[in-house]
């Protein structure tokens, strides 16, 4: 669950980092010579039955897609060795593989790679993200569509395109700093997803066909930026969404056959044509009759929220 005051909390956590960067001149570090390298790690699925991936990427271009080969995963990274330092850790616990890859400016960025508890269940936070982006760097991650996968992505800056349609995600946790992020489920996820968690700093964020993600719970936490959440897709069951926005615009597109109920708080304006306000809730016309429902808890600070139904 998100804290009650997410914006203030995030600000309290992130501002010391910003101040430290200002104070110690991190933002003014002169550029160094470039030495480009290609890094790759890939592995067969073998007898593994599940996979957990944690990927921390400082910046550049990130692409995630389902694999067309039998590989369990395939990561290809192009990076400037004068600025970045990739590191991968692989562990196997029973029939579950754990891959952790950090591609950031130094081992101190992100979380400690020697942290023995990383595979247990630490929570990624915005301040964990590396802050030195490789603007021209690139990372491609291919996922095996047959192996249930829990994916956790931390993106510092840059652009990310996650084509997750046809993958086998049981959980997706996405943390983005200052990024332009596109997430799409063009095909149906092969597994029901218990939690789809997105924490976004200052970004232009777009998610399409979220109805194909088969999530049971969506948590979206946006600090600043323009956000589009498109809930199109082949819904199998009802779900709930908790959306918290700080400053910016949020556009929610929900298919007509989905019943929607929105509970709103905060200062942002809400535009939901054809919705009826009943008590604290905004209800779509088909809320009572719809087979599949989406229940939204919306907390928006400043800006505007538009809900398109149909």
């Amino acid at each position: 669950m998100m804290p009650d005051a997410p914006i203030a909390g995030a600000a309290a956590r992130a501002l010391p980092v910003v101040f430290a960067s200002l104070l110690f001149g991190g933002a003014l570090t002169p550029g160094a010579a470039q030495e480009w390298r290609d890094f790759r790690t890939a592995r067969q699925s073998g007898d593994l039955e599940a996979l957990e991936i944690e990927l921390i990427y400082a910046g550049g271009r990130l692409d995630v897609s389902p694999s067309e080969t039998p590989l369990l995963y395939d990561v290809r990274l192009r990076y400037d060795s004068e600025r970045s330092l990739p590191r991968r850790d692989w562990r196997r616990v029973g029939r579950t593989g754990h891959l952790r890859l950090t591609a950031s400016s130094s081992p101190e960025d992100g979380r400690d790679s020697e942290d023995a508890t990383w595979s247990v269940d630490p929570e990624l936070e915005l301040e964990d993200l590396p802050r030195d982006a490789d603007a021209a760097g690139r990372l491609d991650l291919s996922l095996n569509p047959s192996v249930p996968t829990r994916l956790r992505l931390g993106i510092g800056a840059g652009r990310a395109r996650l084509d997750l349609g046809g993958t086998h995600l049981t959980e997706l946790e996405l943390i983005t700093g200052a990024s332009d992020v596109e997430v799409g489920f063009a095909r149906e996820n092969r597994a029901a997803m218990e939690l789809l968690s997105i924490k976004s700093g200052a970004t232009a964020f777009m998610a399409e066909n979220l109805g194909n993600a088969r999530f049971r719970r969506l948590e979206f936490y946006g600090l600043v930026g323009d956000v589009v959440l498109d809930f199109s897709g082949s819904w199998r069951s009802s779900a709930e969404a908790e959306i918290r926005m700080g400053l910016g615009e949020l556009l929610m597109r929900v298919p007509a056959h989905i019943g929607v109920r929105v509970r709103r708080s905060g200062l942002a304006s809400l535009s939901a044509e054809s919705f009826e306000k009943v008590g604290d809730y905004w209800l779509s016309p088909n809320w009572e009759t719809a087979r599949v429902r989406l229940e939204v808890t919306l907390v928006a600070g400043l800006g505007s929220v538009i809900v398109e139904h149909g």
């Binding site: 600000a11 992130a14 790759r40 330092l85 590191r87 690139r138 652009r159 395109r161 777009m206 399409e208």
Partner: protein, 533 residues
């Protein structure tokens, strides 16, 4: 994968079996004043080789293969051979080399151990280079009979037999590079000795249905694999080509060279791990996401209709305002924290604070010089205290003490700044209202002055990239100014021993007759504000 390191620390030799004998097209013999005795020659195939005795090391093609005793039997025989054939034509040099190789074989069995190893290694290399049929090296572990070629393993131009345990290439010089690469790749494999099967130092081909029973290291050349490798493959340089029948039971680690998986990386049962430097001429593939992205998108049942990822004007404005707000709030938070500390300091240690503050204000150059000296000497002193073991507790005390002194000095400098501000007369009536004269106001107003540039610089984010230069300039000035203030404050803390004594010189007393050079030292500084609360 660390076993790859292990097998590279071993030795191996690749002996040609049934290969054609190779002639020498040209040769040169060199004796140097520093003890080098060298034979360079070029084979008819165009390949060049260099056999060198220097510094008690026998080198073949720049790689040490063993050591010899200076003025011992092996070196003497080598020099005799070179002198005998100096100036002769290439065919005579080849005949002499073959003869010398026979001598090595006979001599090595009776020579002392060190020279014997080098002699055997050198004989093996001469065999390999000249394509001479040779018996199995003495002391080698003949995993494969020397007289029979390894089934399915072929080299270019002739089939090559791999004999584990023999002497061939000392690749220990590669270990540091490998350790660096493996450590950076986060390799966590288990170390297993005795898995060496093959070191590739040339072109080889492993035919279908053949199996290399262990690990393979490729130093240079090409290994074309159509059979199995029952272990790991480490590619340092050269090339690895996996054909349709290839199967690697272990991992493939690449720190150089090129790998052609033939479009199917699943031929590797273990992990594929590579980290290679791109050639400088190759431009980094900036973005260019469309080609692979389009290919992947084609498989979608419903094509994605992503909008352009280029952020819109509203997004950019919102982001810029967000950055500005972050920076200003951060500066405000820092101001509040320091202000709280400063107010507490005034309340509990006002006399000390004022003493340090007056020292900053009236003896700024001296304070700055002292602070600079303290900063420069901090690390050496800390190092000495740490090295002396017994003084480690002092070192542990020194670090927080220095940090506290820095904060104290910063607040005292802020106090001084506030006092200067308060003593100044302003034409503006509004600014005149801000003038206050007690230590609480001094600290708060001084801190505000020090934080203002940071907040102003951050606020310029609202103008986006247009104000990058100005923002950077302001932040640079703010940081340099902060460092100067901290240094001067720190120096004042040192000079006044934490505000316990005044060192401000009362210059007005200098004019008094009979007063010494230290006049004024120890007197109260003229800091008492007129309406101090």
């Amino acid at each position: 994968m660390r076993r790859a390191l292990a097998f590279l620390s071993c030795f191996a030799v690749a002996l040609p079996v049934g290969a054609q004998e190779v002639g020498i097209a040209g040769a040169a013999i060199t004796f140097s004043a520093v003890g080098r005795a060298e034979l360079w020659f070029e084979l008819e195939s165009g390949t060049e080789h260099r056999l060198r005795f220097e510094g008690e090391t026998v080198e073949v093609d720049g790689i040490g293969i063993g050591s010899y005793a200076e003025r011992g039997g092996l070196e003497s025989a080598w020099r005799d051979f070179l002198r005998e054939h100096a100036g002769e034509d290439a065919s005579a040099v080849r005949s002499g080399l073959v003869e010398f190789r026979r001598f090595l074989e006979e001599w090595s069995s009776s020579a002392e151990a060190a020279d014997g190893d080098a002699a055997r290694a050198l004989a093996g290399r001469i065999d390999a280079i000249l394509g001479l049929a040779a018996p199995a090296p003495a002391g080698a572990a003949p995993a494969l009979p020397a007289a029979e070629p390894a089934p399915g393993i072929s080299g270019q131009p002739g089939p090559m037999q791999i004999v584990p345990g023999g002497l061939g290439f000392d690749v220990t010089g590669e270990l540091d590079r490998l350790r660096d690469a493996l450590g950076r790749l986060g390799d966590s494999g288990e170390f297993t000795e005795g898995r060496l099967a093959m070191i590739v130092h040339g072109d080889y081909e492993v035919l279908a249905e053949a199996t290399i029973p262990g690990d393979v290291a490729i130093l240079d050349g090409t290994l074309r694999l159509d059979g199995d490798v029952d272990g790991d493959i480490l590619l340092l340089d050269g090339a690895l080509v996996l054909d349709g029948g290839a199967r690697v039971r272990g991992d493939v680690l690449q720190v150089g060279g090129e790998i052609d998986f033939g479009g199917d990386a699943s031929r590797v049962e273990g992990e594929i791990l590579s980290d290679i430097r791109l050639t400088p001429s190759e431009p980094p593939a900036r973005a260019a996401p469309d080609v692979p992205a389009v290919q992947r998108v084609e498989s979608f049942e419903a094509p994605m209709r992503m909008r352009s990822a280029q952020p819109g004007l509203g997004s950019r404005i919102a982001r810029n305002f967000g950055r500005a707000a972050e920076g200003v709030i951060a500066a405000g938070c820092a101001f509040m924290v320091f202000a709280a500390l400063g107010l507490l300091l005034v309340y509990f240690g006002r006399r000390r604070l004022e003493t340090v503050s007056d020292t900053v204000r009236l003896e700024f150059a001296r304070s700055f010089a002292m602070g600079l000296a303290g900063e420069v000497l901090f690390l050496p002193v800390l190092l000495v205290l740490t090295v002396l073991i017994i003084t480690i507790p002092v070192a542990l005390f020194l670090v927080p003490a220095m940090a506290l002194a820095g904060v104290f000095g910063y607040l005292a400098a802020a106090h001084a700044g506030g006092e200067i501000f308060a003593r100044r007369r302003f034409r503006s009536e509004w600014l005149e209202r801000l003038r206050r004269s007690n230590s609480y106001y001094y600290v708060v107003s001084g801190l505000a002055l020090l934080m203002l540039p940071f907040a102003a610089g951050a606020a310029l984010w609202v103008l986006g990239g247009a104000a990058d230069f100005v923002r950077g300039l302001i932040l640079s000035v703010a940081m340099v100014g902060t460092w100067i203030v901290v240094t001067a404050g720190f120096g004042s803390v040192l000079l006044t021993r934490g505000g316990g004594r005044s060192v401000v010189i009362d210059w007005s007393a200098d004019s008094a007759p009979g007063d010494g050079a230290s006049a004024g030292a120890g007197t109260d500084p003229p800091s008492t504000p007129p309406d101090d609360a």
